[in-house]
Symmetry: C2
């Protein structure tokens, strides 16, 4: 019997067709942005998830920047976001001059606590950015209700939320990313479907549709020109080069063709982790992910919540000694070097708790049942002490 | 004898190893940014061209945005750039709030006329952005002298200028991109070496070095962390996700390994065009590219300058009727829909002339001598009328 298994935290999965599609992209004579595979990917998402308009980007950060530009965020505007999130959720809006008003997480779920948002809304508030942590839905009915009441935009940070859903009280199931005015996805190598670096902007509100293409194409109306809608193209607006190479899209398309297989495999790993660790959750030793009635689970991430920082660090060390790489996640953004001097809000104790205590376990396609059993055994042994 | 040859304007060239390297990148378990091939590409450039520090980016636009952030360009600052350039030269600085002060081209060369710059410098001027059009050097000694005199930054837009050089009066040969405080390159599919979309920031002034890595990595000090220079990483600055996927870097590295072959082939096409069209230049019918004593030629582009817009349009049509795709290039940015309402400067007649009259001929690796002869024959016939 082997003692260690040398299990990485993540391993990018190749479906096998990625390089064929890249070769095909090159054979079309066009590997810059907005090529054959970019269109195939965008169509796939629009058709499958009821996203109004999709534009591939070079990263989720860039998709959020596009959303910030389209939302016309200006110096001094306020944007409400959770503190327990990746830095991109904030910097995309900070580049436009916004102040980020950080909200706390739920006690039992890292998502933004929807009941805490209303108190943070001021006359300067322009947008709410809910982050669907681990692909588990935020309370979107509540958030959209607030947005309507105060005339705010909702930009879903759906970086981890591909193929995940929100279930309304009446049973209606809507894909995450299809609910807010805009949404941003990531295809970073740690996500369910990947292209190394990569992202996508979803535009659900028609009023941003035309401008989104222009911002995407360096402030030019080139996309309209190529569809024959205008007879010359030029510089008409601000923008950047937000388009990825069609090489990236070709890689991603091979992944999308295998999405169901990938999702089934990840769900299998997730469920096995859950089954093996449930006793520790039930006896109060650790906490497992809490999935509300309104949320589906896309098996993006399996995490446990330890009791404190020291315990988590000791567990990371123990796993590492067994050649298993488990990692902590975000540090509360309001306490970062960059933002703490600008932060005058309340203590965000739930966010801080997840910063200290949340531990992500390896989860990737090629993980085996044996790997999961091996990892959970180490955790169970650790807590026997 | 075939009558038409169906010659595209550009055809991306595959050296053959691109997909092998992409597969290898996947096998490393890391295809996100700053991986094995990113480092290989950056090292290649630093060693070969005496660039102090190189950072691959998702586009040349993004490299220019990084330069604008590092230069701390703020609302109301002025940046001097040619009007005859791609929109990215301007929007990267406009996103930071700058006003672009457009300068005219030389009468016989689309590059910024260095003798026109000093009159445009004000107390608000922060940077000069010379664009090495067609890979042909701007007058860098003159531009650096002005920058020193007025304490300005020089950011070379070297999008088209890979493997091209500036030759000082004393004979010293320096790579374009190694002279200014910073420089930006493009690996868009139309360039000499490509990755579909892609770019690179070069930082030559040490004072920007440390911050450049942070801006690149979403405002975090992750790069330092991975080198073991700090023991945890976090959010310390503004920034964005400027890194390309290592898939893109793997593709690019295969191209770089074949740079000499690619450059030799392009030079052969360029020289053959020049030889066959020289009589038309010498008898004053059209103008061919003017390469100053201080410039080398990287064979990025072969263009001719017609006498006016109508003549150029007729020639484009004639070439198109023979299934040859030749294209015009930039429209003066100061006359764009976006900028004309903000422009109060002088008439830029040389820039406007190149907008109306410059015509780019097909130039790519797989072009043949027969193709070049066929194309030049059409042009010679056109001017016989």
């Amino acid at each position: 019997m082997e003692i260690t298994q040398n299990i990485p935290f993540n391993k990018p999965y190749l479906t096998g067709k990625e390089t064929n599609y890249i070769k095909d992209a090159v054979s079309t004579g066009k590997i810059s942005g907005n090529g054959k595979y970019t269109k195939l990917c965008q169509d796939y998402f629009e058709n499958k998830y009821n996203f109004k308009k999709c534009l591939l980007t070079t990263s989720c950060t860039d998709a959020l920047e596009m959303a910030a530009i389209l939302a016309e965020i200006k110096e001094g505007d306020e944007v409400i976001a959770p503190s327990f999130t990746f830095v991109s959720t904030a910097i995309a809006f900070i580049r436009q001059g916004a102040n980020i008003i950080f909200a706390d997480s739920y006690p039992n779920n890292p998502n933004i606590d929807a009941s805490k948002i209303e108190a943070l809304i001021t006359t300067k508030t322009k947008a709410i950015v809910p982050v669907h942590y681990a692909g588990i839905a935020c309370d979107m009915d509540k958030i959209m209700e607030l947005a309507n009441k105060y005339n705010l935009l909702v930009i879903e940070d759906a970086a981890q939320a591909i193929d995940s859903f929100y279930i309304s009280k009446d049973g209606t199931k809507r894909a995450l990313g299809s609910i807010g005015h805009m949404a941003a996805f990531s295809f970073h190598e740690t996500k369910n479907v990947i292209s190394g670096e990569g992202g996508m902007l979803v535009v659900n509100d028609n009023k941003f549709e035309k401008r989104s293409e222009i911002i995407w194409e360096k402030g030019t109306n080139r996309a309209e020109f190529f569809r024959g809608e205008v007879n010359k193209y030029g510089w008409v607006d601000t923008g950047s080069s937000f388009l990825p190479s069609d090489i990236i899209a070709a890689f991603l398309f091979a992944q999308l063709e295998n999405l169901e297989d990938i999702q089934a495999k990840r769900a299998q790993h997730w469920n096995y982790y859950h089954k093996l660790l449930l006793p520790l959750h039930e006896n109060g030793t650790i906490s497992l992910p809490n999935i509300n009635d309104y949320a589906s689970n896309n098996a993006h991430m399996f995490y446990i919540v330890c009791n404190n920082l020291e315990e988590r660090q000791a567990l990371i060390e123990k796993l590492k000694a067994n050649q298993v790489l488990a990692v902590f996640h975000y540090l509360s953004l309001h306490k970062s070097t960059f933002y703490q001097k600008r932060y005058y809000g309340e203590t965000l104790s739930n966010s801080d708790h997840f910063s200290d205590s949340l531990l992500r376990l390896p989860l990737f396609y090629e993980l085996t049942e044996e790997n999961v059993a091996f990892i959970t055994n180490i955790i169970i042994e650790f807590y026997k002490k």
